[in-house]
């Protein structure tokens, strides 16, 4: 569903942000990309969303090249950012309504919105509350609601648990697993090794724009993911 083929990005200032990265996220699979800041995780997401164009290679969503047909490709992907920023003067339901319509869902009822918000664990009183009163955890949940309501087969998550308290992180984890059960292809960039270990079917480690390691769930559980990660990071400083 999500596929990176020799995905490469060199910025105008010469910095190689991504260097021939290859991976595939299948339907019903969670792929977690680990890596330090600046490793190229967000650049990968930006390439899938056509916010930037690759220097080389392809980012495919549902088999569609997101560079050549960005609008068509984006029909099949939802996105949750590190800090879900929505329109603060609008209520949660109004925000959800707006993004649902952008995502092509034009015939949803108020109850449909409420149901999705319940699904992600937002409290009823928050449904018609303005976003400016929301905590980060609540905003992240609403961000997930937006992704859910779009009902796209692929989801891109850019460090979605950053700054969340443990309870909210745990709730978030449950939502991810539900989405996986529904057959969604989930790509999640994260620093959170613990969360990756819990939800990922596969894990990749990025370093200086290269995908330096990829392990299946069985492999990383056997090999100790924390140690693997630290080893790769230390290589960098060595």
């Amino acid at each position: 569903m999500l596929k990176a083929i020799d995905l490469t990005k060199r910025y105008e200032d010469g910095i190689l942000a991504l260097d021939h990265v290859n991976f595939e996220v299948k339907a019903g699979e969670i792929f977690c990309m680990l890596g330090a800041n600046g490793a190229g995780k967000t650049t990968t997401i930006n390439l899938f969303l056509n916010f930037i164009e690759p220097t080389d290679g392809k980012a495919l969503i549902n088999g569609i090249d997101s560079t050549k047909e960005p609008l068509k490709a984006k029909k099949y992907v939802a996105y949750v950012s590190e800090n879900v920023m929505l329109y603060s003067n609008f209520t949660a339901r109004q925000n959800l309504d707006f993004f649902a319509k952008l995502g092509g869902k034009t015939d949803l009822t108020k109850e449909d919105y409420y149901q999705v918000m319940r699904q992600v664990g937002l409290q009823e009183k928050a449904f018609e509350a303005k976003l400016k009163t929301f905590s980060k955890g609540m905003r992240q949940k609403l961000g997930i609601s937006i992704a859910i309501i779009k009902d796209a087969p692929a989801i891109l998550l850019d460090e979605p648990t950053s700054g969340l308290d443990p309870k909210a992180s745990a709730e978030f984890q449950k939502i991810l697993l539900d989405l996986k059960e529904k057959g969604k292809s989930i790509f999640m960039s994260t620093h959170d090794i613990f969360r990756a270990k819990t939800v990922a079917d596969r894990v990749g480690i990025m370093k200086e724009g290269r995908l330096v390691m990829m392990r299946t769930r069985e492999e990383f559980l056997e090999e100790n993911l924390e140690k693997l990660y630290l080893d790769y990071m230390q290589e960098k400083t060595a």
Partner: protein, 518 residues
């Protein structure tokens, strides 16, 4: 999707407290300024009717053509309650006579009244200054704020074309800002419509609709400008600073600056120079009258036989009115006056032409200014609004031109009545009514002066002299420019506003499709 984006922008704007404050402020300003202008208009309208009656009465008292002077009145422009323009500064009435051409009688001596880019506080000025600034305050961060907050990433993670996002935001933003404009206008219009002194015709309403359309185009120029800067600048605060600078330049500094430059590059001599030339012509006429007098010496002049004679000087055969004089003197005065008044018409024509040419020069200076002022959308809108509502300073030129045309019709009328070629020019009595001086002397010497007095009284008794029959005198009615003519005059300004919009919208589109939405 366009509707979704537009609706969000619309709601995002109208749900803010700054919008409510701005809307209330605009509403209050529209209503209060219109109320003040309606009061002024009603007073001027009342004054106009009073003046017309007074001038009609004055005219009907004329008993000789030499004294026939017509005061021409221009009614106040009803649309001046929305667009004050120069209406109050323009002369409301002017006197014309066969021997007195209309000249410009208002405006500072050193100033060109046609060079005006602001008026008193009216609907147009509020749109020109306050609404344009409000529009900028709602557009400076349309894109940059979404980028700063990160919503732009989320928006464009969907299959949303950039032009749809841009068009939706511009459409929604403009609709929200047109709301206070239309509400304010509607309130002001109702206020005027319900006032008994204000009579608006269908054409007036059509003119107002055009003004509102132009206001929308004008405001959308500033909105597009704000959006352009919100795309170009990474920070909303930087965008705002730049836009405020541009606003001050375009709205406050540029229009008077251009006028100052035009005065330098296309100077027009002061009106006092024209006044001097006009005075020289009047002196020349006076000299020619003295020459005439030299060739036509005054007959024997006995003061006791003369009654109620209005002259410049008793030495000249130029009179405005003759009550009684011995026949020799009466004929000398009648013939001299016929010559003098006809000569005066020629000189007054030349004097009018002097002032007219001067006005044309002022107009040409104003035309150059208008062309340069097209760099300022604010000035373009002001000019458009004033011209469409008939409150621009060129109304003064038209008033003077129409007054002169009327004077020519008046001269023709007097000529047709024989008023410039007969005794009727200065007296209501036929020439034979005036006794020769020898007869008067004889009566005085034989029957005494009291008898002479009774002879004079018999010929001239003011109660018996009927005023002129002016039932068929041409009537003056100031003609406003037709809507078609007004539109023809203002079409370039409208095109400028449309082109500016297209230019800025294209700029927004080009910069936005290339911009980084992360």
């Amino acid at each position: 999707m366009l509707f979704t984006i537009a609706k969000r922008r619309f709601l995002a704007n109208i749900l803010t407290s700054r919008f409510i404050v701005a809307a209330v402020l605009i509403e209050v300003l529209f209503i209060s300024s219109t109320a003040v202008l309606i009061r002024g208009y009603a007073r001027r309208q009342q004054q106009f009717h009073t003046e017309v009656q007074k001038h009609d009465k004055e005219m009907s008292n004329a008993d000789v053509y030499a004294q026939l002077s017509v005061r021409l009145d221009r009614p106040p422009e009803p649309l001046s309650i929305f667009s004050a323009g120069a209406d109050r500064r323009i002369a409301g009435s002017v006197s014309v006579a066969h021997n007195a051409a209309p000249v410009m009688i208002s405006g500072a001596e050193e100033d060109n009244p046609l060079l005006s880019v602001f008026s008193s506080l009216d609907m147009i000025t509020i749109i020109q200054i306050i609404l344009s600034l409000t529009v900028l305050l709602f557009s400076y961060n349309v894109v940059s704020e979404e980028k700063e907050k990160g919503t732009l990433r989320l928006v464009f993670s969907n299959n949303l074309p950039r032009h749809t996002f841009l068009a939706g935001n511009i459409l929604g933003g403009l609709l929200s800002l047109f709301l206070p404009l239309l509400l304010g206008f509607l309130s002001a219009f109702l206020l005027a419509y319900l006032h008994p002194a204000v009579q608006l015709t269908g054409t007036d309403m059509l003119r107002l609709v055009l003004v509102i359309l132009a206001a929308m185009l004008f405001l959308s120029v500033f909105y597009s400008l704000g959006v352009l800067f919100s795309i170009l600048m990474k920070r909303s605060s930087t965008s705002l600073v730049f836009l405020l600078f541009i606003w001050v330049f375009l709205v406050i500094l540029l229009p008077p600056g251009i006028i100052s430059i035009v005065r330098q590059i296309k100077p027009v001599e002061s009106q006092s120079a024209i006044d001097q030339q006009a005075e020289a012509l009047r002196k020349e006429w006076y000299k020619r009258m003295w020459e005439y007098k030299d060739n036509h010496p005054r007959p024997e002049f006995i003061g006791e036989f003369i009654r109620d004679r209005y002259v410049e000087t008793g030495y000249l055969p130029y009179a405005y009115h003759l009550g009684y004089a011995p026949r020799e003197v009466a004929e000398w005065l009648i013939n001299g006056s016929i010559y003098g008044h006809n000569l005066k018409i020629e000189y007054e024509d030349r004097i009018y032409e002097l002032y007219h040419q001067y006005n044309v020069l002022l107009y040409k200076q104003a035309v150059l200014a208008d062309q340069l002022l097209r760099f300022s959308p604010s000035a373009v809108f002001y000019k458009f609004a004033c011209q469409i509502t008939g409150t621009d300073a060129s109304v003064q030129l038209r008033f003077m031109e129409q007054a002169e045309q009327y004077r020519q019709r008046l001269i023709q009328y007097i000529r047709n009545k024989g008023g410039l070629s007969s005794y009727r020019l200065i007296t209501g009595n036929p020439p034979e009514a005036f006794l020769p001086v020898s007869d008067l002397i004889r009566v005085r010497d034989t029957e005494g002066y009291e008898r002479v007095k009774s002879v004079i009284e018999k010929v001239y008794n003011p109660k018996d002299v009927k005023p002129l029959d002016l039932s068929d005198i041409p009537r003056f009615k100031f003609l406003r420019l037709s809507l078609t003519d007004s539109l023809n005059e203002t079409l370039p300004d409208l095109i400028v506003l449309i082109l500016l919009n297209l230019l800025l919208l294209t700029g927004c589109w080009i910069t936005f499709i290339r911009s980084d939405v992360r």
